[in-house]
Symmetry: C2
C-alpha cells in the first residue's frame, strides 16, 4: 500500500448540495483535513468561522461552482466501454449471443486493463467517484481503479450454470480476488462476491458466494429480474421467481446488491424489503434493451434502498450517472402519471447517499462533517444553469456531465479544471482505439 495521498484543502465561496441539514448551503467553505470533511461553513447557518486559507496547501476558488458529493454508480462493467456502440438496436439475446459474448470470449487481461482505465476517465469526467463493478480479469480492473484515484467495490462475475469443476474454478477465482484485493489502494478498492445471476449460477455457487461474502464482511452483487423472459424461464425451471429462487438458496443471509429488479411480483418486493436487499436501478440500459420500466417509486415506498447505475457502456452507451439520475425521475413520473414522483432531491439521493448505502460504504454520499472528502465541483458558467432558482433542480433536470470541472476523492484532487491528474487518459484512449481497429464489426 502506498503512502496516503490525503491532502488538506479548502474550497471557498461554493454553492454546496450537502444532502445534510441544510441540504443546500450558499457561499460555503468546505474544510478538508486528512481526506475528511472537517466542516462546511456558511454565513447564514454558522456562527463559527472557517479557518484561514493560509493553513491549507490547496485552496480552491468555488465561486460559480456547485459542490456535490461524488456520484456513486452502483452497477457497471467498466471494460465494456470497449464495446460501446459495437452493436445497437438489437434484441437482447441476439445482442448478447451473437455480438457481445464472442467479443468477451477473446478479451485479454490487457484489454480489460485499458478498457477499465479508459472507463475511469469517463467516470471522472462525469462526476462519478465510486462504482460497483462486476467483470473478469478483476486484478486488471483493480489496477485501473487504483491508478485512477477512484473508489470501487469490485467483484469477479461467476458463471457456472451447471456447477461441477467450473463452479469450483469460479469460486477459487473469487476467493483469490478477495484475498488479494479487498481493502487495498489505501482503502479505495474493496472486493465483493458476484454470482452473475440466478440463471447462470447453480446452487453450489450461490451457497459458497454467501459464505465468502459473510467471511470477508462484504456484499453479494448480482443481476436479478432484469427481463420478463428471465422471470418466465425461472418459473418454468424452478416454479419460482428469480427472487424466490435466490432467497431459497440463502442469498439474503448476506447483504445483497441486486442490479435491475425490473420485473418483480409483490411477493418479491416483500422478500427484498424484509432482507434489507439493495437495488441498483439501471434506467437507460433497461429502456435501451427494452427490458422495461423498474417500479422504483414503489420499491422506495416499500422501504427498499434503491441506488442508480449505468450498467456497461455497451448497453447505455456511456457511463454518465447524471443521465441515469434524471431518467430515473422522468420514468417514475411517467409510468405513475404523477409529476410529483421521485422529485429532484430524491433522484439525486439515488446517485449519492443511497448509492453509498447500497455499496455498504460508510462515510461517503454526503458533504457533511466527518465524511470522506469525495467531492465534485460543477461549473455553473453555462446558459443552462441560468436562472438558478434551485441548484438541485438545475443539476438533476438541466445540467450535463460535461459541466464537471474538478473531482476530489479522499481529499485528493484527481481532476482539476477538466485535467485528469492521476493517469494519462490519452494513452488509455489510444489503446481502446487500437482495440477497435482489430475488432471492426463490418
Amino acid at each position: 500500500m502506498s503512502a496516503s495521498p490525503h491532502q488538506d484543502l479548502l474550497i471557498q465561496g461554493v454553492t454546496a448540495i450537502t444532502l445534510g441539514d441544510p441540504v443546500v448551503r450558499e457561499d460555503a467553505t468546505i474544510v478538508v483535513r486528512d481526506g475528511r470533511i472537517e466542516a462546511v461553513h456558511d454565513a447564514v447557518h454558522d456562527t463559527s468561522e472557517a479557518p484561514p486559507a493560509s493553513e491549507f496547501a490547496t485552496v480552491i476558488d468555488g465561486r460559480g461552482k456547485l459542490a456535490t458529493p461524488g456520484l456513486i454508480n452502483a452497477h457497471t462493467h467498466l471494460a465494456m466501454v470497449l464495446m460501446r456502440g459495437y452493436a445497437d438496436d438489437l434484441p437482447l439475446m441476439r445482442w448478447l449471443e451473437e455480438e457481445i459474448w464472442p467479443l468477451e470470449a477473446e478479451l485479454t487481461a490487457d484489454d480489460v486493463y485499458w478498457g477499465s482505465l479508459h472507463a475511469c476517465a469517463e467516470l471522472i469526467r462525469s462526476g462519478t467517484t465510486c462504482m460497483a463493478d462486476m467483470y473478469f480479469h478483476m486484478d486488471q480492473v483493480a489496477r485501473a481503479v487504483d491508478e485512477s484515484g477512484l473508489r470501487g467495490v469490485l467483484a469477479y462475475g461467476m458463471i457456472a450454470p451447471h456447477g461441477g469443476q467450473k463452479a469450483e474454478d469460479e469460486i477459487a477465482l473469487t476467493r483469490d480476488f478477495l484475498s488479494a484485493y479487498h481493502d487495498t489502494a489505501d482503502g479505495r478498492v474493496r472486493a465483493a462476491v458476484a454470482p452473475h445471476a440466478p440463471y447462470t449460477c447453480d446452487p453450489t455457487v450461490w451457497e459458497r458466494a454467501v459464505e465468502l461474502a459473510l467471511e470477508h464482511g462484504t456484499l453479494v452483487h448480482t443481476h436479478l429480474a432484469e427481463t420478463r423472459a428471465e422471470v418466465e424461464s425461472a418459473r418454468e425451471n424452478w416454479g419460482q421467481t428469480p427472487v424466490e429462487r435466490v432467497a431459497d438458496l440463502g442469498a439474503f443471509e448476506a447483504p445483497v446488491l441486486a442490479a435491475h429488479c425490473v420485473h418483480l411480483e409483490d411477493a418479491d418486493v416483500d422478500i427484498l424489503a424484509e432482507h434489507d436487499a439493495h437495488i441498483a436501478h439501471n434506467p437507460t440500459s433497461n429502456l435501451k434493451l427494452a427490458s422495461g420500466f423498474a417500479p422504483v417509486q414503489a420499491q422506495l415506498d416499500r422501504g427498499i434502498n434503491v441506488a442508480v447505475a449505468t450498467d456497461g457502456a455497451s448497453s447505455n452507451n456511456n457511463l454518465d450517472l447524471l443521465e441515469e439520475i434524471r431518467l430515473a425521475s422522468y420514468c417514475q413520473k411517467a409510468i405513475l402519471e404523477d409529476a410529483t414522483a421521485l422529485p429532484a432531491l430524491e433522484a439525486l439521493r439515488l446517485g449519492t447517499e443511497r448509492g453509498a448505502r447500497a455499496l455498504k460504504w460508510d462515510g461517503i454520499g454526503t458533504l457533511t462533517s466527518g465524511q470522506t472528502a469525495d467531492i465534485v465541483l460543477w461549473d455553473m458558467d453555462r446558459p443552462h444553469w441560468t436562472p438558478n432558482y434551485d441548484p438541485i433542480s438545475n443539476l438533476v433536470y438541466s445540467a450535463q456531465s460535461a459541466d464537471v470541472a474538478t473531482v476530489i476523492v479522499d481529499g485528493r484532487v484527481i481532476m482539476k479544471d477538466r485535467e485528469i491528474l492521476t493517469f494519462d487518459e490519452t494513452e488509455a484512449r489510444a489503446r481502446v482505439q487500437a482495440y477497435q481497429e482489430t475488432h471492426r464489426r463490418r
Copy 2:
C-alpha cells in the same frame, strides 16, 4: 434587411453524417459557397476532387470532429428559460395555474427579448440551428432570433377560449406579426399562425387561423392531445377527441404542426395521417409533467412525419435537443418492449430531416449538395466518443450537447470553438439573472 452574411467556407478532414447517400462519410470535405453546400467530397465515394483551400476565406480543420446537419427543435417557448427550475415536481395544472401563469402575466417585452436571446445561446451551444417557437411579444423573439444568427418559425400563441373581442385582438396580433416578420432576417425568420390549443381557442380563432396560414403560405402550430385530462375534457365538452374537434373546425386545410399528440385514438392517427399533419414529439416534457408516452413508432409506421422538440425550459428543464432524440428512441424501445424500435439513425432523423419537413422549411436537415449550410461540428475528443464503431450510435446514444464546438447557419459561423460570435451571451445571461432576483419563489 441587412446584407447577406453568407460566406464561402471549406471544412476539411471531417466525419460527416450527411443523411444523404452515403449516410456517413469519413475524412470528408464540405464545400460551402454563398451559404449553400456545393458538395461533400471523400476519397472513397468520389472521383471528383475538392477545390483547393486557397479559394476559401474560411477553412475549418474538421479532424476529430463530427459534422451533422444543424438540429431542428420543432416546438418550444424560448422565453420560458426565465422559469427554468422555478417550480418542479408539481402536478400539471397546479404548476400552470399557481406558478407559471402568474409569472407569464407579468412578463414584459424586455423580459421576453432577453429570455429569448439567452435561450438562443443555449440552442447554439447544444447544436440547434432552427426552432419553431410559440409565445407572445413575438416581435422580441424575432429580434433575438435575428441577432443570434439562428433560424426560426415563430408564432404568436393565440388564447381566446370564449371568442368575442379577445379573439379579434388575438387574430389582429397574429396578422400584424405575419405582415411584419414573415420572411425577414435574410430569410431566417418566418412567421406561423398559432391557435394555442383546441381548449384555449374558440371556433372563430381556429377558422381565422387557417385562413391566415393559407393566405401567407405558412403553417398552423398548435398543442394537441397532450394529456389524458385534455382528451377527457374534449369528450365532455364536444363529444369529440381534440383531433376530431380541430378537424371539424377545418384546421387540417392548412399544414399543421401539432405538438405532443401523446393521447391519440386510432381514428385520430388516421385523421393526422390523411391530412399530412406533422407531430412535434416532446419526450422530456411529456415524462416530466407525467403526461405519458407518445406512440411515436406507431405514428411513424402510419406514415405521419414526426419531429422532436424540447417544449419550454420550464418543463424540460433545458433546450438540449440531443437529449430529446435519445429519449425518443429509449422510450419507444421500452414501451414496445422492442430493442429494435426507433434505432439511432431514425431517431436522429426526427431532429434533422423530419424537423425540416415539419417546419415546411426546404433545404435544411441534411448535409447534401444544394442544401443550405446549417452545420454543427461536434468535438469527438472525449472519452465517451471512444471507441467509435459507429458515429451515429455514438452521437445518439453517448454524446452530450457540450460536445458541440462550432455552429454554422446559412454558411455563417455563429459559434467557433465554443465562442458565440453573433451576440454577447454574458449580457443576456446577466439580464436573466436580474429577472430571477426580482422573481424569487420563496
